[in-house]
C-alpha cells in the first residue's frame, strides 16, 4: 500500500465505534470512516429501558463516555481522528473494487467510499410481527433512542396507563419493570410456555412470582393476533382473548441486519446472522463483521449461536480491529452469560440450562442452593437462589442459574470462568474465593452449590425437584412429605400436604413414620432436609429423597 490504511465501518452504535477507536490506536495514520444511517452514534442501546424508567434522566448520558464527553461526530473527528458520515446509508458493497456505495439521507446524494478493510457492524433490528395494527400510534419497538423518547412522551402525557408487552424475553422484562416504575399497568403476552427462555422453567417460575408480586400480569402460551385501535392503539387481540391497552411494546426479539452482507454474497450462518471466523473475518478476508449482526461460537456446544449483547460487541470490535491492522487476536465465543434486573431480583445464568445439557447428551445432576449472599448475620445479606448444573460422569460444570435479591451476577461470573477452564464441581468446591462477612458467607453460595452436586454424584443425597413433588401431590400419591423445620417456621408458612417433625426430634420420633413409604424431606433450604434424609436412610428407610431448594425455592402456592 502506498496510501494509509483505509477502513470503512458500516454502523456506529456499539461494535463500529469500538473498531474505529481501536484501529486509530493501533494505526494512528489510518483513514477511518464510520457510516451510520441514524443521526446518533455510539449510544448505549442496553440503557434504553433505564431511560424509559427515568433512572437515566437525559439521553445524552447514554451517549457519553464514562467521564462525560458526548460521543458525537465532532468528538470522533477531533478526539479520535475518525470521520463520521451519519444520516448516511451504506447501499452496496462492491467487493471486487473494494468500495462501498453510500447515500446521504438528507441530500440524497450518492458516492463511493474506497476501503482496504471493511467492517460490517450493522447490528440487529426488532422483529415486528406480520399482524394488523403494528403501525398504530403508541405501538413501539425498542430499538433506538427515538423509541424510548416516544414511550417516555406517551407515559408523560398520560396516554399509556395499560400497557401490553409482547414477548417475555430480556428486553420485554426490562421494559416491563421500567413501565411499572412509571406507574403503568403491564401485561406480558408470551407465545411460548414460559418467559425468559434463557432460564429453566422451574427457575422462571420464581421470577414470574416476583413479577406478579409487583402487579405484572404474565400470560404465557398466548399468541398476539392483532392490535386494534383507530389512530392510537385501544386493545390487543390474543389467542386467549382481548386485552385493553393504550400502549403496546413489541419485544419479540431482534433479527440481525444482514441485507448488505447478503447482497454482497457474504456467507450467512445457520442462525441467519453473518458467519465470521474467530478473527471476526467474514467469507471475504477483507471484510470483517462484529456485534449484533454476526453469529458466535457457543463454547458449550461448539455450535453457532446468535446472542446479541453489547459486551460481546465490544470484545468482537477489538478483535476485528487488531486483526484488520495486521495483528492477531481471536474471539473464542460465548457461554451464554446473561444477567437481567427484574425489580428487586438479579436474574442471571451462564452455560447450559438443564434441558439443553440433556440435549447435549450429558447425565445431568442439578443442585439447588438458596442461601443468604453474605454472612447470614449481616443485616444487608439477601437471599440468593442458585441452580447449578453438572455432568455426573465427568463431574464437569455445565451451567448455573441465579435468581433472587442477592448478588447472583458475582456467582455467575465465577462459574463463567470455571466453564471457560472446563473445571469440575470438585475444583469449584475448593476455589479460593474471597471471604469477609459483608461480602460472602464463609462457604460461598456457589461452593455450597458445588458441594450439593458432589453429594448427589457421590450417592449421599437423592434429590427431587419441587415440580416433581408438586406433581406427586396433584396426583395424590401416597408418600410422606416431611418438613423438618422448627414449629415456629412451620407456623409462618408451610407447604401443602406436609407433616412436621423438627430435625432435633427426628431421631426420637422415627416410630411415627412408615419405613416402607416413600419419604420426601425438606426444610427452609433443604440442608436440614438433607440431614433428615441421612438419619432416615441410616435407620433403614427404603426410599428417601430431599426436595431441592426447600421452602425457599418452592415455586408453587404456599399455605400461610
Amino acid at each position: 500500500m502506498n496510501h494509509p490504511l483505509r477502513v470503512v465501518i458500516v454502523g456506529g452504535v456499539a461494535a463500529g465505534p469500538k473498531v474505529a477507536s481501536k484501529v486509530i490506536r493501533l494505526c494512528p495514520e489510518a483513514e477511518v470512516t464510520i457510516v451510520e444511517k441514524g443521526k446518533l452514534l455510539s449510544y448505549a442501546g442496553c440503557g434504553l429501558p433505564y431511560y424509559v424508567s427515568g433512572v437515566v434522566k437525559d439521553q445524552k448520558e447514554l451517549m457519553c463516555t464514562p467521564v462525560g464527553a458526548v460521543r458525537d461526530s465532532v468528538f470522533f473527528q477531533h478526539v479520535k481522528n475518525v470521520k463520521v458520515l451519519n444520516e448516511t446509508e451504506a447501499m452496496e458493497v462492491d467487493r471486487a473494487s473494494r468500495r462501498v456505495r453510500v447515500r446521504d439521507l438528507l441530500r440524497g446524494q450518492e458516492s463511493w467510499l474506497n476501503y482496504d478493510k471493511l467492517v460490517l457492524a450493522t447490528g440487529a433490528k426488532p422483529v415486528v410481527p406480520p399482524i394488523p395494527g403494528t403501525d398504530l400510534c403508541n405501538v413501539f419497538t425498542l430499538q433506538g433512542v427515538h423509541d424510548a423518547e416516544g414511550i417516555r412522551a406517551a407515559v408523560a402525557q398520560d396516554t399509556a396507563r395499560d400497557v401490553v408487552i409482547v414477548g417475555g424475553g430480556l428486553i420485554g422484562v426490562e421494559i416491563t419493570e421500567a413501565l411499572v416504575q412509571r406507574g403503568c399497568r403491564v401485561t406480558i403476552v408470551e407465545m411460548m410456555p414460559q418467559i425468559l427462555r434463557i432460564l429453566d422453567p422451574d427457575i422462571v417460575r420464581l421470577v414470574g412470582q416476583h413479577m406478579e408480586s409487583h402487579g405484572v400480569r404474565v400470560l404465557t402460551n398466548t399468541k398476539l393476533e392483532r392490535i386494534e385501535g383507530e389512530e392510537s392503539v385501544k386493545a390487543v387481540q390474543t389467542s386467549g382473548g382481548r386485552i385493553a391497552a393504550d400502549m403496546v411494546v413489541l419485544a419479540i426479539g431482534v433479527r440481525p441486519n444482514v441485507a448488505l452482507a447478503e447482497a454482497a454474497n457474504l456467507e450467512i450462518g445457520p442462525t441467519r446472522a453473518i458467519k465470521v471466523n474467530d478473527r471476526m473475518q467474514t467469507s471475504d478476508p477483507n471484510i470483517y463483521a462484529a456485534g449484533d449482526c454476526v453469529e458466535c461460537n457457543d463454547l458449550m456446544t461448539g455450535k453457532p449461536c446468535f446472542v446479541p449483547l453489547d459486551s460481546t460487541a465490544n470484545k468482537q470490535g477489538r478483535v476485528a480491529a487488531v486483526n484488520l491492522c495486521g495483528g492477531e487476536d481471536h474471539f473464542p465465543g460465548v457461554l451464554g452469560s446473561t444477567v437481567c434486573k427484574v425489580f428487586d431480583f438479579c436474574v442471571a445464568r451462564t452455560g447450559l440450562g438443564e434441558s439443553a445439557a440433556k440435549d447435549q447428551g450429558y447425565d445431568v445432576v442439578t443442585a439447588w442452593a438458596p442461601a443468604p449472599d453474605k454472612a447470614h448475620f449481616m443485616p444487608e445479606a439477601k437471599l440468593l437462589m442458585l441452580k447449578l448444573i453438572a455432568d455426573r460422569k465427568t463431574r464437569k460444570l455445565l451451567g448455573v442459574q441465579a435468581v433472587g435479591p442477592g448478588a447472583g451476577d458475582k456467582r455467575i461470573d465465577v462459574v463463567a470462568m470455571a466453564l471457560m477452564a472446563g473445571m469440575t464441581v470438585d475444583q469449584l468446591a475448593n476455589a479460593d474465593l474471597c471471604y469477609a462477612p459483608p461480602f460472602a458467607p464463609a462457604m460461598d453460595n456457589i461452593i455450597t452449590a458445588a458441594n450439593i452436586v458432589r453429594n448427589k454424584i457421590d450417592g449421599y443425597m437423592d434429590g427431587i425437584t419441587p415440580a416433581e413433588v408438586h406433581q406427586m401431590l396433584e396426583e395424590k400419591r401416597d408418600f410422606t412429605f416431611l418438613d423438618v423445620r422448627s414449629p415456629q417456621e412451620y407456623e409462618q408458612v408451610r407447604l401443602p400436604g406436609s407433616m412436621l417433625i423438627p430435625l432435633g426430634s427426628l431421631r426420637g420420633r422415627l416410630g411415627e413414620l412408615l419405613k416402607e413409604k416413600e419419604v420426601v424431606t425438606f426444610c427452609k433450604i433443604s440442608l436440614r432436609g438433607y440431614e433428615a434424609a441421612l438419619i432416615l436412610k441410616a435407620a433403614g428407610f427404603n426410599s428417601v429423597r430431599v426436595m431441592d431448594g426447600g421452602v425457599a425455592m418452592w415455586p408453587f402456592p404456599k399455605l400461610v
Copy 2:
C-alpha cells in the same frame, strides 16, 4: 474395626464443627466427640468486628445457623448426634494408644478419650507483644466473644473515647471501622512501613487516604513500646512518642495453636503451623488437622503459607472429614484471596502482589483501571479501582488488587478462578462475563484491566506509576506532565506540576510541546491519557508515558 468409627475433634469453633457435621453425614454410625476449651462453640469469629460495631445486635446471631438455630452443645447432640465436651481441654495426645487425655475445666477431672481418627482444629490465638502493660484494664485482643463483649461494654460505659489499635492488618482495620462507628477516635499504630500488607504500597495509599477521611489516624513505622496506666490504660508509648488512650486493641496478628501437636511430635511446618498434606493429614496418618492451626499450600508459589480464614477452615474441614471416613478428597491450596470492608470501600486481592511477583522472578506488567463498576449512566454505579498484575513473557495472570466503593469482590473472585486455571490476560480479556447496565459496564472493569495489560505487553502503552511521577516532581525533574482532561475537570481538581491541553485540541496544539522533552500524559482514568500518548508518539515525540490510573488513582495530595 468391630466398633463404630471413633472420631475425636479438638476445637469447636470453625473447622471442628464442620468436620463433625460432615463425618456424621458420611458415616451416621460414627461416634464423634468435639473437645472445646471454651464455653461456646461454632461461632463466627470473623463476625466479631460487626458485633463490636453494633451491626450484629446479639452475639447469638454469630452462633446461629443461617436459619436461626443456635449451635450449642444441645444442638450438636440432638441434631447432629455429635457429643460435645465444652469447657474441656485436650492435654495430651497418646499416638501409640490412639487416645487423648482431656481435662474438665470446671471439675478438674481428667480422662482419656480413645480415637480411631483424631482431628486437630485448635485454631490460632492473637499475638500479645512482650511489653509492659498488656494486662491493664481496657487492653483487648479480639479472639473470642468475651473480648468483643469487653470492648462493647467499655464503649457503652463511655470509658473508651480514644482508642489505639496496635497493628494495621485485616483485623486491626476491621475493628477500627467498628470503633469509629461507635464514636471512638482511633489511631492505628503499625510497626511496618504500611498497613494491610496484603496489598501493594500504592494501593494501600488509597485505602489510607480513605481511612483518614473518616478521621482515623494511621501511624506507620511506629513501634509500640509499652502500655501505660494504673488500673486501666491511660496511654501508649511508641517509638514515635506518647499517645493518650483509654482503650488499646492488640491486633498484631495470630499464631497457630500447635502446642498439642508439637508435644505429640507431629511435624510443624516452616510457617510454625501444623504441616498437613492435601488430604489434611498430619505426619501421623490417623491424625488430621484443619483450620487456623494448619499451613496451606500457596498455589501461586508452591510454598507453604499461613493464611487463617474461616472460608478455608470450612473447606479443609470437609476434606478432612471425607478422607478420615475412607473417601478421597484434596484441598489444593490457596491463592491468598482476601476481602475487607474499610468504611465505604471494598478492599480485596488475590494472587501475587507486584513485589511478590517480582520476587518469584516474573517480568511484571501492571495495569491500573479505575472505572465505574456498572454502566456509567446508572446512578448506583460506584468507582472501582483495579490493579492487575501479569507476566510479560507468558502473558499469564499473576494477581489483582481492588479498592474503592465499587464491587471489587466480584472481580477478585473472577480473577481467582482465572488464576486457578492458569489463564492469560488474553483469555481473561475475552471472557464471557454477564452484562446488563445495573451490574457491570459493557466492557467489564476486569476486562478493561486485562486489555490495558495487553496494550502494555504489545508495546502500545508505556506506563509510569503515580509514585514514580510523584518522585520526579519531588526531584524537580524537567518533564511535561500533561493533563488532557476538559477545562471543567481541570477547574475542579488538578495534579501539582501539570499543564492542561484537552485531548480534543491536542492535535492542533502539538506545537506548544517540546518533542525532545519527556512527557507523562494522564486524564481522569488515563484512557484519554493513553490516546494522547498515541497522538504524541505518532507525531514523533521521543519519550511518552501514560500515568497509570490517572487522577482517580493518584494517591498523593491534589490541588483543589
